[in-house]
Subunit: 264 residues, 2 copies
């Protein structure tokens, strides 16, 4: 897989150290090795050497400081120090999206990760113009965005699934907001305000392909228990804009936007 | 100016005809010529010939159908027919943003246009890393996004201005939401709900550079009448994500998202 090259953002340049997602269990004095990509990023992009500190998270054990014990071209050995943030519950919000073209998809995954989705699910519809989705590439973007935005998890990036199959196995109790670019839905603010008692429940937001859902798909969506078509105003939004807009509204009203960024 | 090449979106491919912003006054039987870029788009991208219809708008006279009278390589003559939508008032919402890198800026302008901003103002702050803004390029992206999302206006794309100067001339009565990525602001949903009586007022949303505002800038913002810092949750959003997220929340609560897309 061609993993996207990672640049340091201004925010990272201002902050000392780097922040990395790792698979290994994290705990006091745990020793671990970085793979070649992360070692390159730490050494050659962030310009950190032996003795420097980085932040680590794995989606399970919270965030920890770690010290670079030894580092070379393409490898690094770290030793974990103290926990800086405990793992905490996060909103259970899925983004289900008909895939768009590659550049827009990369950006959508980045934004959705920053906006706190728990899972990203590409859905294939009749009018979806994109035939193939590189899930490993999505996962790499999601991981990088999670590192940068200081999440304690990386969203699950799932294999594409046919809409019919997804709806046939839709989990009972998971609410679904379908972004409707044609104008049949209720205003999103109204729907979210009415659902304010269900803030802790599992939710999903779905966007269709640029050509829209076809009539049979709309009928299947209308008949799904817990699904609701929502409108995003009088301008026809691109699918990726609609996804980001709906995620932001959901987080502001039902999600965790009463919280503030970590101060550590 | 290198104008970005325009591709047809799926939505355009499904819909017959193209939609173009023109400078000329629009009215029954008005004849007008397209410039080379628009003529190329109509002929070679949308593949329209003589007798085909396009939609035109100019930000003042509503939307009109027009027929292609004659077309060739790089030129086209149109004759305006009937009005399809009258001009209507739009939310008076500015986006004031510290410029980000080119690709992100292009996408931000597109999304902000779809999300209905009236004006786009690049603001130069002490930590703004981008030294130069190609305003003509921004305007081309804004125009294209306005054409695609079926707006009746194109946002005004303004020359970059220093933050100090902008604040010194801030229009009395225009409310300002400053996106605060560090966590000092009130949750945006709370601020917008409290302002629901001011939906018709002029507003602006401001995002800072990736390095954040410096202390003197924050102080100047805090002392501006009508300004309010808002928080966008516990994850540290990129500046372009913050802008899109805040615009969506504003439109959902105070803007025109109770309206639906035109059905013509």
């Amino acid at each position: 897989m061609a993993e996207p090259a990672r640049e340091a953002s201004m925010a990272e340049i201002r902050r000392p150290g780097a922040r990395l997602f790792v698979e290994a269990a994290l705990g006091p004095a745990v020793a671990l090795e970085l793979g070649p990509d992360q070692a390159h990023y730490v050494r050659d992009v962030m310009r950190l050497g032996e003795g420097a500190e980085v932040a680590l998270f794995n989606g399970r054990d919270g965030e920890w400081r770690a010290r670079i014990a030894r580092i070379g071209r393409g490898w690094a050995e770290l030793v974990v120090g103290a926990m800086t943030r405990p793992q905490a519950p996060e909103p259970d919000l899925w983004l289900v999206f008909a895939p768009v073209k590659r550049l827009r998809l990369d950006i959508l995954v980045e934004k959705a990760t920053e906006l706190g989705v728990a899972a990203l699910t590409p859905v294939m519809t009749r009018r979806t113009a994109v035939a193939r989705v590189n899930v490993a590439r999505l996962a790499a973007h999601a991981r990088e965005a999670a590192e940068q935005c200081r999440r304690l998890t990386v969203p699950a990036c799932q294999e594409p699934i046919a809409l019919r199959r997804l709806l046939a196995h839709w989990p009972a109790g998971r609410r679904l907001l379908v972004c409707d670019e044609v104008g049949g839905g209720r205003p999103i603010a109204e729907v979210l305000a009415a659902a304010s008692g269900e803030a802790g429940a599992p939710w999903a937001i779905m966007t269709g392909p640029e050509g829209g859902f076809d009539e049979a798909e709309l009928e299947a969506l209308r008949s799904l228990a817990g699904a609701c078509a929502v409108g995003l105003g009088p301008r026809v939004l691109r699918a990726d804009t609609a996804a980001v807009a709906a995620l932001a509204c959901w987080q502001a009203v039902l999600g965790d936007w009463s919280l503030t960024p970590p101060q550590t």
